[in-house]
Symmetry: C2
Subunit: 453 residues, 2 copies
């Protein structure tokens, strides 16, 4: 099936289910859900309002429910637990990988989480505790702690027997960490090499070097560094290089995707949505935006005060007020460009905190060049329509505002990161507001001195 | 080694290489490069200016150069080809996968590309042509066309022998597409199942269903749909369901990463950089921003004209001009929030083009709610300081501007997508400028009628 056909099939399924729900035909829905593609069902539930999602989940044939629950993202899993009660999902909870289980627990109220944990078997509980022991945002929290014990002295055949006996259901089997007697990591063996090797070949002869990461490392940084390497997984070790788990490409991908969603939302001055846009209640949309709007509006009151100071001068030359939106807009745009570029460079690891002066010096020069072009244009146009004096004021202000905004915009994300804030938070909207106020002061100072007000 | 240690090692390497280059110690650099981690060398070259990168590449021990070249991203590969000449890199070119080869060709001038292509062996040339035959931006263009021919009638042992004989160097062996006599795709067999199976087990008995994608499908859409499934690869078929290649998670990840970089840059009103920020020449930074700034500044001249119309009224009540930045700023912020949210939802496939009315209706209501809160606040503050009349003007304007901006901001990305433009291009800075001009008109209309100017 092609993607377009798959999309169509999904819409088709949506419509069919919709009409059955309207006519209360539970059995027919069960029938539809028994035959649909699993990935369509998952998408359908994730895109439905919570209550409908829970109804659909309950109508799933029992043999499919586990797979669907496992594939839902943690927030929707939590919705299901809340809607259906912890009893109905306890069985699925046991079948999850420890790292997925912890992500679900993070979304649940403490009471419910405890109840679910209590019913886990001993080994599952140990694995879950291992992951829960690490701080949120670290690799330890998203790694998979279930790994087979493979030693260099084993043969390809022995590894195969071990995996077949004990680990057939593990998610990560293609990159197998190899340890010594002290559980110290000595390298990895790839399943492809085991598969193509003779049965008596020693693991030690197939051993490859591998990058690894300590469990306390930052998950986002690690994921961004690890994904471009196009590896399936890297071993996770403790501070003594002892193997404690494995960090897979799909967990890394998940970490980066949710951070990017957050960054993107914050660059636009709102919080990331926890659900698909169309199934998010309106009040949640308002909540994700109102705080930022209020903060920004309150700080923009600064611009009213700045202008209040210069009110008398504006009365003498009302023409000055015509250019306010043009000048503040240009300043805001220049600042945003710099901030967006540097925020992205920080996220990708291209720029480090210690580069702040380098970045500012680059942005001073970029801002000067941009300001020279825009200032010349502003000078020419304003002179033509409003005369030479106004032309000079506008040109010089453009030049100054561009330079100031680019420098501030470039430095702000690094300053934010240095004080431990999310660079994306202190970014675009905040910079616009800051540049507005500062730009207006620059504008009126230049105007006062040139026009002699 | 931990990520932090790895970062330190990289900086250390950078400093060491730097000091050797200053003192012109080529041999010592070769020594350093022979011992450093491959991933550090790749990062070092990607973060260096082109010329230095080429020098470093030339100083690499021959046995490491191939691996490094292969891992560089296409733009840096192209830099190396240009700096070192196609002769020195011809050998590496032959060793690349067909999809990587095509991505490199896309970055090279036609002349150089042809010369490189001419020296390819017959089979490599065929594979490259297969990929080149698809349009840019499609799955066909980023898929890997080299796939083993596996039939359901083969045994696990036969597959192993086939792979060992002919395909040991293939990148993608963990997900193996299975075909019938007509090359029609019948499913996949996972290497883990082959590995754990008895040697005489038939592939047909290990066969699993798989999603697939047609080669002409959009690469970004496919990647965003495929990555959350956490599969290693999906088969690529032609319109007749015949197997033509395989699309791997790391290519998908690469596609999404570069689209996200572009979107993020465009949301800030600039073009994505082709190199790490600190190694991008200043003039390129200026180029990536100046066009947008000019477009925005020229359209912001609209605001000067709008205000020019109302100049007389402003002269009668200069107090009105004090609120211009506050009102346009709030409008811009509200519009940006909506645009960012909808752009992201479009990218993730949560919103479709046909949802435009649904989205606008949601945003009208969200905008009204946001406007009610901000308007009440504006009314209270402005009334306190400037009296009831001004308070009413500000409150009503806030309400109207928020509603208008949220609606326009939410609709704009969908309209952009419908006319075939990048939703991120028509987003934040453009919406700010649009909302500025419209907001000012609303402002002065409300002011005129309430204040009776």
């Amino acid at each position: 099936m092609t993607t377009a056909e798959q999309q169509d099939a999904l819409f088709e399924l949506e419509k069919l289910v919709e009409s059955r729900i309207r006519r209360d035909r539970a059995e027919e829905i069960s029938g539809l859900l028994a035959e649909a593609e699993l990935s369509d069902i998952i998408r359908l539930i994730e895109h439905s309002p919570v209550k409908r999602g829970a109804v659909l989940f309950r109508l799933l044939p029992p043999e499919r429910a586990g797979a669907v629950f496992d594939a839902l993202d943690p927030r929707h899993q939590a919705d299901m637990v809340r809607a259906l009660g912890s009893d109905s999902v306890g069985a699925f909870f046991e079948e999850m990988g420890a790292e997925d289980r912890v992500m679900l627990l993070d979304e649940l109220p403490g009471r419910v989480a405890e109840r679910l944990l209590k019913e886990l078997g001993e080994k599952d509980k140990q694995n879950t505790d291992a992951v829960l022991g690490y701080e949120k945002g670290t690799v330890g929290r998203v790694m998979s702690p279930e790994i087979p014990e493979i030693y260099g002295s084993m043969t390809a055949h022995e590894v195969r027997e071990l995996l077949r006996r004990e680990h057939e259901d593990l998610e990560t089997l293609y990159t197998l960490p190899v340890i010594d007697r002290d559980r110290q990591l000595t390298g990895i063996v790839k399943m492809r090499r085991l598969f193509l090797a003779e049965r008596d070949t020693l693991v030690a002869d197939l051993l490859e070097d591998t990058p690894s990461v300590v469990a306390s490392a930052d998950a986002e940084e690690t994921a961004r560094w690890f994904l471009p390497l196009a590896l399936l997984a890297i071993p996770v070790v403790d501070s003594g290089n002892r193997l404690v788990g494995i960090f897979t490409f799909d967990e890394a991908q998940h970490v980066v995707e949710s951070e990017d969603s957050e960054d993107s939302a914050r660059q636009g001055g709102s919080e990331a949505l926890k659900q698909p846009y169309l199934s998010t209640p309106l009040t949640n949309l308002v909540k994700s935006r109102i705080v930022w709007l209020l903060v920004l509006a309150v700080s923009a009151i600064l611009t009213v005060q700045v202008l209040d100071i210069f009110e008398e001068k504006m009365q003498q030359a009302v023409v000055l007020s015509l250019f306010i939106p043009l000048l503040t807009g240009t300043g805001g745009n220049t600042g945003n460009q710099a901030a967006t570029t540097v925020t992205r460079a920080l996220a990708l690891g291209d720029v480090k905190k210690s580069d702040v002066l380098k970045v500012m010096w680059r942005e001073v020069r970029v801002g000067l060049m941009l300001g020279a072009v825009l200032g010349a244009l502003g000078f020419a146009l304003a002179t033509l329509v409003y005369g030479l004096d106004i032309g000079m004021v506008i040109g010089l202000t453009m030049l100054s505002i561009c330079t100031m905004s680019a420098t501030v915009g470039g430095a702000m994300p690094i300053v934010a990161k240095t004080v431990g804030a999310d660079p994306a938070v202190f970014s675009n909207p905040f910079i616009s507001t800051f540049c507005d106020a500062t730009g207006l002061i620059i504008y009126f100072l230049i105007a006062t001195s040139i026009l002699g007000l």
